[in-house]
């Protein structure tokens, strides 16, 4: 499948995501060839390790920088190679940034008319004693964007309603389940208990009971729906404001509206399915407090996460269990069970924490107040990347928990830290090779077999699935989990960059990982995954920044390593590298980042002009009317209090939306079929 077709099929996000793997190959294949051609012979003939008596070393060590005697002139080769590797990486990631920016711009330019092109999300609408939110918004934009303002949609605080809808859906599901049961076996009428989860209470006829309950809920839901629509307090101070042209929307999204920058905040609206509705109403001051708390929380999560785990582990030991549950003592004291408990328990707390970690990070990002699912994912990825850096990378190299490391590093000088880590780098090569195979390769093998989804599906099927609808849901193939998988890729980039000049033998393993992943994920994206949202590769600046962080870490560690090797005259040369890298980052940021965060007026104007020529009768107001309504209102139940326009029966737009919907349903059917 060629790339343009792939973009049509799976969206730009997915395509750019698999390009990260491709970029890994582009970076590391030439580096590996060069390292094997130059560094391996230089290291191999270093001959230090053989001279030291009483030292066991593997051939891997003989191929690494450890085999070069201190103060040797051969280190020039490593410094030179480090320069070449850096510049090659610059070249590749510059080109990738350029390509991605181009792809994004082309994607944005080529995609069909979408509501978010015309819409701006306005937050922190100031309260007005005389006007409702909707009037206030309308007046403000009529005055300040008189030639461009078209319409707007207010945001309802529909959390309670959403709860009711979800509850009703669950009851409906139970009703279907009991009806099915009754149809299959008409002899016994199914019964249920009225208490919690049907576990206790008086026994009643299930079908009657659920029908009655649903009836009650429906009434309640209608009442709540009416309240939400009519109560002015149910409207949060945020709105989706739509403009007559893309130009008008681009202007409004990029400019400041009033002299107080904490009210009337405008940003380009996320696409409707990408909106995270709960966060639209956070005032500015609360937002800054939340960010502070989350930052402090993240610090503690990263550096002190071992504390609660150690506590749980101490409780979950044999002695702990015997203390709390004395009656279990005879069982536990059995030799088989005792060894099992001792073997499994300490690890299990850590494992559970690591599984729960992405969820914790997503919750933290939600607390931070981002308004779209894609930005939540991106923020979580930032946090996960930090966690991996500190706890997996540094944690594997330096012994002790992150807390101990923090204490050590605080008491070490700025020049001492890279030395401490750098010295251990060559020694850990074998460990990381194993890590790549165990964690990287096997994860991909599991991905292609879809082991985890298979197990999850069967678990759900056994315990939770009651109706056909449930089964469909359980079979949902999911999507690329950007928040956790991208930081993991970055970890392999980091390993590759760090070891390129130190132990080149690690590089082929990285290459195999990237090649293997690329093939597998390409396949999954084509045949399995569903797309949750489309952000147009908005995550690329993050990917680029993390690569730069990897480069700088690699350079600093090499600097630290070199300074212990009595190669003093070479260190100034290595100091220049991180400075160059930071400059390169600033340069790329200035050159490309705005393609991902801003919306150029020229492109907007071109599309507006084109559309005016091809589709002069378009009723944009009608098209945008219902684009941004809370998902619980979808289904036409929202009564509109607005005056109905005379052009409202224009059928142009609903058709487009229906066809889009049916198309996405089709692709989901296809992929879920392939995934099961």
């Amino acid at each position: 499948m060629p790339e343009p077709e792939l973009i049509d099929h799976a969206g730009l996000d997915s395509v750019v995501y698999i390009r990260i793997y491709l970029m890994g190959l582009k970076i590391f294949v030439p580096i590996t060839l060069l390292a094997f051609a130059v560094l391996v012979p230089v290291n191999w003939t270093g001959g230090t390790l053989e001279q030291i008596k009483d030292l066991t070393f593997s051939n891997i060590d003989k191929l690494s920088i450890s085999n070069i005697p201190p103060g040797s002139k051969r280190f020039c080769a490593h410094v030179l190679m480090s320069y070449i590797f850096t510049f090659w990486t610059f070249y590749v990631i510059y080109k990738e940034y350029k390509t991605t920016a181009f792809m994004r711009l082309q994607f944005l330019a080529s995609e069909s008319r979408r509501p978010d092109q015309f819409t701006v999300l306005v937050r922190n609408v100031p309260p007005d004693p005389d006007e409702s939110v909707t009037e206030h918004v309308e007046h403000f934009f009529c005055v300040n964007h008189p030639d461009h303002y078209l319409t707007h949609q207010v945001v309802y605080n529909a959390n309670k309603l959403a709860n009711l809808v979800a509850k009703k859906k669950s009851l409906q599901n139970w009703l279907t389940y009991h009806q099915n049961k009754y149809e299959r076996n008409p002899s016994s009428k199914p019964t249920t208990k009225t208490g919690f989860w049907g576990l206790w209470g008086t026994r009643v006829d299930a079908i009657d009971y659920y029908t009655a309950e649903i009836g009650k809920l429906s009434e309640e839901e209608d009442k709540e729906r009416e309240r939400v629509i009519n109560d002015p307090n149910a409207v949060v101070p945020a709105a989706f404001v739509s403009f007559k042209s893309r130009w008008g929307a681009a202007v409004c999204a990029q400019t400041q509206q009033t002299s107080n920058p904490t009210i009337w905040l405008t940003e380009r609206a996320p696409e409707p399915r990408d909106v995270y509705w709960d966060n639209l109403a956070i005032p500015y001051f609360e937002l800054t407090i939340r960010r502070l708390l989350v930052a402090v929380g993240l610090f503690f999560l990263i550096f002190f996460f071992m504390l609660p785990i150690a506590f749980v582990q101490s409780l979950a030991s044999i002695e702990g269990i015997e203390k709390v549950f004395p009656f279990l003592k005879p069982v536990i004291e059995m030799k088989f069970i005792k060894s099992l408990v001792q073997g499994i328990l300490p690890g299990i707390a850590l494992k559970i924490f690591l599984i729960v970690l992405p969820i914790i990070l997503i919750i933290m990002s939600k607390i931070e107040g981002f308004t779209s699912l894609s930005s939540l994912d991106r923020r979580s990825a930032v946090k996960y990347h930090l966690f991996l850096l500190v706890n997996v990378f540094v944690g594997s190299i330096v012994t002790g928990t992150a807390m101990d490391q923090l204490k050590t590093f605080l008491n070490q000088s700025a020049t001492e830290i890279p030395k401490t880590i750098g010295v251990s780098i060559p020694l850990k090569a074998t460990f990381f090779i194993t890590y790549i195979m165990v964690d990287g390769w096997s994860a991909i093998a599991a991905e292609i077999l879809r082991l985890v989804p298979l197990v999850m599906f069967h678990l759900k099927n056994t315990f939770l699935v009651k109706t056909e609808q449930d089964r469909d849901q359980a079979m949902d193939p999911g999507c690329v989990d950007f928040a956790t998988s991208e930081p993991r890729i970055q970890f392999y980039f980091l390993l590759g960059l760090v070891y390129a000049a130190v132990t080149p033998l690690l590089l082929p393993f990285i290459i195999v990982f990237f090649a293997f992943s690329y093939t597998v994920f390409r396949h999954q994206i084509i045949n399995v995954y569903n797309q949750k949202y489309e952000s147009g590769a908005a995550f690329w600046p993050d990917v680029h920044r993390r690569l730069i962080i990897g480069l700088i870490i690699a350079q600093l560690l090499l600097l630290g390593l070199m300074s212990t090797k009595e190669a003093r005259e070479l260190t100034p040369l290595l100091v220049a590298l991180p400075i160059l890298t930071i400059w390169f980052h600033v340069f790329c940021k200035g050159r490309f980042e705005s393609a991902f965060v801003k919306f150029p007026l020229q492109d907007a104007m071109v599309r507006d002009t084109l559309e005016r020529a091809t589709d002069p009768n378009l009723n944009l107001k009608m098209y945008l009317q219902d684009a941004y309504i809370h998902p619980v209102f979808r289904g036409g139940e929202l009564e509109r209090p607005e005056i109905i326009d005379e052009e409202e029966d224009n059928p142009l737009v609903p058709t487009t939306r229906n066809s889009q919907k049916s198309q996405s349903k089709y692709s989901s059917d296809v992929s879920s079929g392939a995934g099961s």
Copy 2:
């Protein structure tokens, strides 16, 4: 003089500048009272210094934190006070930021129509093979801002022409000088030599010679002027684009024009007299390279500036002179001269460097490529502040040059650095009190007497002044030199914040400094200074940021000091302070900074509407036509190749400009009269 009148008279920049001193008083008067009420008694009764035998100490030391025994509970008072001081500072600088932002917005709203309100500076216009720059600009903005684009002015590369004009002016000056001489003494016709500076060459009649030279130059100038106007290569790829409304200009300045963010860069145009013309044509890539080089250069300037000075000093020693000029040996060996040379020479190189430093910093900022004089000043202030921090503050506390300090700090741990500095803080109190008196108080005394300008004026009068015009120039009173004086104020803020909790006795000296400065500078601004440009207090975010830096340094040093005092349980409390401070900075930045960098659409719209109502016949195009032309073209000599508009004879606007001009001339007359 009340504040609004002062703003009218001296501009917002000056008024806000003296408010910095006022803010110093607002911060430090309550802090001083509290410190004297609480900390001084606590310290005085500490009684440690008296117990130590063989220790000479002053009463100042008895009032400082040194008098408290290690591990004492009394440190709670210092920590508590440090919190109170921090929050009080927060309160004051928050209010000041708010007031300044409000003043700026009001100032911008109230000022009369000005060209920069309608104009956007466009840089990096991409080359086009088919069109000239002016056509390209016009087409681009006609297409992308069709409803708002009005006109534009290209920028000519008139550096050569400017040189010619300057040369002609100097010759003219000589001519006037000789004519005056001849008039006073008609008997001897003045002569001059044709060579360099009139020092050698054949002797000729001066008046004839200069008249001929001026004639030649005028011809050359005319030719060059014609070339600049007609040669398409003399147009740099930048333009001042004007819009029909303030709204249109605000939109264009804040949005991105094309998908390539390195071309068609738009920013709000500086006011005409604020433009730094030489930097308008730097391409994006060159700009990033320049910034990198200047950053590296600044690092070396700050940390290694002692190297060349030490080199000069070694040359300028008695032995060095004797080596290079052996014939001077008998003179130098005389006892009086020898001691003079030994006493003065080592200091003189350093003194010259410190006088030249602001010029070096301004040149560095010019290399960085900023396009307005005000931003050049602001950037130089950033650099000067860093220099003062490293070389004066840290340099006075820790012995050794900045280079040595850098080496020490690199080899110290992150927790060790604040300790090293913090421990020395109480010991240096006497030194800094002397410093405040010698450097701060005396500088202000010199300022009120205008000693430096007086000396400079007499020097110039004796050696350089030849004509009346020269004398006028020498009598120019100058203006507030923001780039050097603001960082110096910040230094006193820093001292006050650092010593507030350590040696409160220093605070009254700071207060005297601020009170004295406020009175003096207020007087100078009212009666003496000329205004060079008006940026509308655009420097305030920098002032705020530097105050925050001062606060954080003070907090870290107190933390370092405390951790040596065996008050371990108090340190976590102190760690929270810098985090809070950083959060406060982020909060203030989000809350107020945009008032200084962005231009809200609402305000623009209000002013546009108002103007349309009050002045419906305004010919804006005529008004903006000549607003942004290079100063060498001023004087009506620029032939305009454009087509003349039919409405061009509207007399409305020139009147306004003339009245403005005459007004500024009037105020300059007044102030120069007062200054002499």
